[in-house]
């Protein structure tokens, strides 16, 4: 099993110190600690982070534009776990990751992160379709950010949330907004009609 966090086990400080680069060679003096403190503290331990990275990059792979890993989505999601997610949410997201990994072990005899990319895609495509099947009324709706309110309840809300967060972080990233979509922070003029060409990309940064 990957080393997923549990809420009552946050004895990750030693590992975190290593990941932050606070080592004897770097020295334990004030400058090294200050530098370390200025960096984001990883929430997930290395094996869990590897699983998250594999999942994120399978959901949003490199194509002719950067994928989730190049856009730093795993690190940003780790930041959300540390700084944004509630205790319940942390468990929900960790469980969603675990289910993917367990499926890989059950079906392929290997952790998800160790599967070949095409095998990950095949496995996660099936998992994704099952998890996002419309569910009977009463389950919590999918959809993490603003949408037009058309979200429906799905069978695995935890996976839906995990995937939504990956998608939100990717499409809010500089890599995606400048290379996958089109985005100008200050567009200047409002042009109510422009022609559609093969190069036209949707504008990022819109509320819907």
């Amino acid at each position: 099993m990957p080393d997923l966090p549990s809420l009552d086990r946050r004895a990750l400080l030693g590992r975190a110190a290593l990941l932050l680069g606070v080592t004897a060679t770097g020295g334990f003096g004030a400058p090294a600690l200050a530098q370390a403190a200025a960096q984001a503290k990883p929430f997930l331990a290395a094996p869990a982070f590897a699983l998250l990275s594999a999942v994120a990059d399978t959901i949003i792979p490199v194509t002719d534009t950067p994928g989730a890993v190049a856009a730093r989505v795993p690190a940003l999601l780790d930041g959300l776990l540390a700084n944004w997610a509630s205790a319940t949410r942390k468990v929900e997201l960790a469980e969603a990751l675990t289910r993917i990994d367990q499926r890989a072990r059950d079906e392929q005899g290997k952790p998800f992160a160790e599967l070949a990319p095409e095998m990950r895609t095949a496995l996660l495509t099936v998992h994704d379709a099952e998890a996002l099947k419309p569910a009977p009324q009463g389950k919590s709706p999918a959809g993490a950010g603003l949408s037009l309110g058309l979200g429906t309840a799905v069978s695995d809300p935890g996976y839906a949330k995990l995937k939504d967060l990956i998608v939100i972080l990717y499409y809010s990233s500089e890599a995606a907004l400048t290379r996958e979509l089109s985005y100008e922070h200050a567009p200047g003029e409002w042009k109510p009609s422009i022609p559609v060409t093969p190069d036209t990309r949707p504008q990022g940064g819109t509320p819907f």
Binding site: G79, W84, A129, E180, P192, S193, G204
Partner: protein, 560 residues
């Protein structure tokens, strides 16, 4: 001793201060919240990838401190600084009768986060109460306010189109933010099928083209970023910080105190006048009193009711200016959160560029050109857009290259129409003081307010008419629920110190002057005698300017 005190620095207070200062009155603005610096304290510089936590407020903090404020669409990590912590500013409601009071306590108040939609009330709105008997008659008519609407529109800058509609008078407009191709197609289909209905560009207080008098205040033309609710460093939309307070400041007559919570207004029974304002320092909790010859109440509809009700004396045992027992009553919002969404598969093969700060507007047509089985009416705000990844990807199956392909493709056009319906004045919808006090020792408010039968009928008609218009444009309806949202979420609270002709049934006269206290003027939403269905801030500002002009005239004549 000041000539005038203005309680509150938001939409109404900013304009009242400007108009009083420009007439030579030494004016003190009292703001309960902290000081915010125009520009430097804003977050509009943040790129999407620079917002903390993907622009989401931490979940436990949101649940603990922002249980009510989180219901507002504009609340995010980038705007978090503008919303009160509900945990620090409690109020009560009856069980099963929620009211969502959305607030920001800081210099400029909600003028920083407002939706900027700016519509005049029409002649029929000022006549509605007299005609159907709900509420009392407005003591003014449209013609009384028309020149003040002109005055405010010119000053704040409103982008819009002239349409010649009796139910939505034209104003002094900057060029509109034009409709996109799908909206034009929608407009043509709706107007062909339903003569009398109009689809027009939303009228909005953003400078589509800044004029010299805007530039003098450091304001520039809108850059179509749609980051307005973060505060606009460019001053491209009207707020107290970008526009009215700088105009007041340049007269040399303005003084501002922040972190000063108004406890009550002091009344002298010998003269019958208000003499000053008691405040409590938000940080030190020390009390003090400011004195002035006249006082403007602009603390917002619920805030003003709270102050008046808490200003008890032997002369006014039920609260200042409350001999009518109407202070706190007739609380209104708009019928809100009734939205119809549909797809327009036959939309044009084009797109748009930029993020305009408005959308389309459908002025009221029920009980204007078409009958309704209810009183009054409603309008719609909306847009026809090609939705982005939030709508096409979130919650939807599919991964990998297919997901990215879908995300970079232009989505089919989607139309969204959100109704804003008139709420009738009802004396039982009211604000009272609770026995509990806040941490400054001021009684917190108890808000008892619900939508009535007429409002529910309006909500049903909003959905029925919205669906019919989407279908008329060749679209199919995706969603449309006709239950009105919790009152308050329209953020258009009004009515708790209404204007009227009779001191026995109203609080304010035709110049927003308290019937009971001649040097007290109330010009925020509490003055509204009826709600119309139009976004009300423009009317508050016009009333504020008109009242300030009158008050300054009375002062000059030595009446105070």
């Amino acid at each position: 001793m000041f000539d005038a005190i203005v309680i509150g620095s938001g939409m109404s207070g900013g304009i009242a201060a400007k108009e009083l200062c420009e007439r030579g009155l030494k004016t003190l603005v009292i703001e309960r919240g902290r000081k915010i610096e125009h520009g430097t304290d804003y977050t509009d510089w943040m790129q999407p990838w620079e917002t903390p936590n993907a622009n989401m407020v931490p979940e436990e903090e949101l649940a603990r401190d922002y249980a009510i404020q989180r219901q507002c669409y504009a609340m995010s990590a980038a705007t978090q600084q503008y919303w009160v912590k509900d945990s620090e500013h409690p109020y009560t409601t009856p069980e099963n009768k929620p009211f969502s009071w959305i607030r920001g306590y800081h210099l400029g108040g909600r003028s920083l986060m407002w939706g900027r939609q700016s519509y005049r009330l029409a002649p029929m709105d000022f006549e509605a109460n007299a005609k159907d008997g709900h509420g009392v008659d407005w003591p003014i008519r449209y013609d009384d306010l028309a020149p003040w609407y002109d005055h405010i529109e010119r000053f704040i800058g409103v982008a819009g189109s002239k349409e010649g509609l009796e139910q939505l008078p034209d104003g002094e407009f900057l060029p509109p933010f034009g409709l996109n191709d799908a909206e034009i197609q929608f407009k043509q289909a709706v107007e062909a099928k339903f003569p009398g209905r109009k689809v027009i560009p939303g009228r909005v207080a953003n400078l589509s083209h800044a004029q010299p008098h805007h530039e003098e205040l450091g304001r520039t033309s809108c850059q179509n970023r749609s980051l307005c609710e973060r505060g606009c460093t460019l001053g491209a939309y009207h707020s107290s910080l970008s526009s009215s307070l700088p105009a007041a400041e340049r007269t040399g007559n303005l003084t501002i105190v922040t972190d000063a919570i108004v406890h009550s207004i002091v009344h002298d029974p010998k003269t019958g006048k208000a003499t000053g304002v008691r405040v409590i320092d938000a940080k030190t909790k020390k009390g003090s009193t400011y004195q002035a010859k006249l006082i403007f109440g602009c603390a917002s509809t619920i805030g003003t009711a709270q102050i008046l009700l808490n200003s008890k004396s032997d002369a006014f045992p039920n609260g200042l200016a409350n001999s009518s027992d109407m202070v706190g009553r007739n609380l209104m919002d708009h019928v809100y959160a009734v939205t119809v969404v549909g797809a327009l598969p036959g939309g044009p093969n084009s797109y748009y560029q930029g993020r305009r700060p408005t959308g389309l507007y459908i002025p009221r047509f029920r009980n204007v050109t078409e009958n309704g089985d209810f009183l009054r009416g409603f309008g719609y705000q909306g847009a026809v857009v090609r939705p982005g990844w939030r709508s096409t990807l979130l919650g939807k199956p599919g991964i990998g290259a297919e997901l990215k392909k879908r995300g970079r493709g232009l989505a089919p056009w989607v139309v969204a129409l959100g109704g804003f319906g008139e709420m009738l004045p009802d004396p039982d919808n009211r604000v009272t003081l609770s026995n509990t006090t806040d941490k400054w020792g001021i009684p917190i408010v108890h808000i008892d307010c619900a939508m009535g039968a007429n409002e529910h009928k309006i909500a049903e008609q909003i959905v029925a008419d919205g669906k019919a218009m989407i279908q008329a444009a060749g679209g199919f309806v995706l969603s449309g629920a006709s239950k009105p949202g919790v009152p308050g979420l329209g953020i258009h609270e009004m009515g708790t110190a209404r204007m009227g002709r009779d001191p026995r049934t109203s609080v304010l006269n035709k110049f927003n002057q308290a019937h009971d206290v001649p040097n007290l003027f109330i010009t925020d939403g509490s003055a509204m005698t009826s709600s119309g269905c139009q976004n009300p801030s423009l009317t508050y500002m016009a009333l504020s300017a008109r009242a300030a002009d009158h008050a300054a005239q009375l002062l000059k004549e030595g009446r105070f």
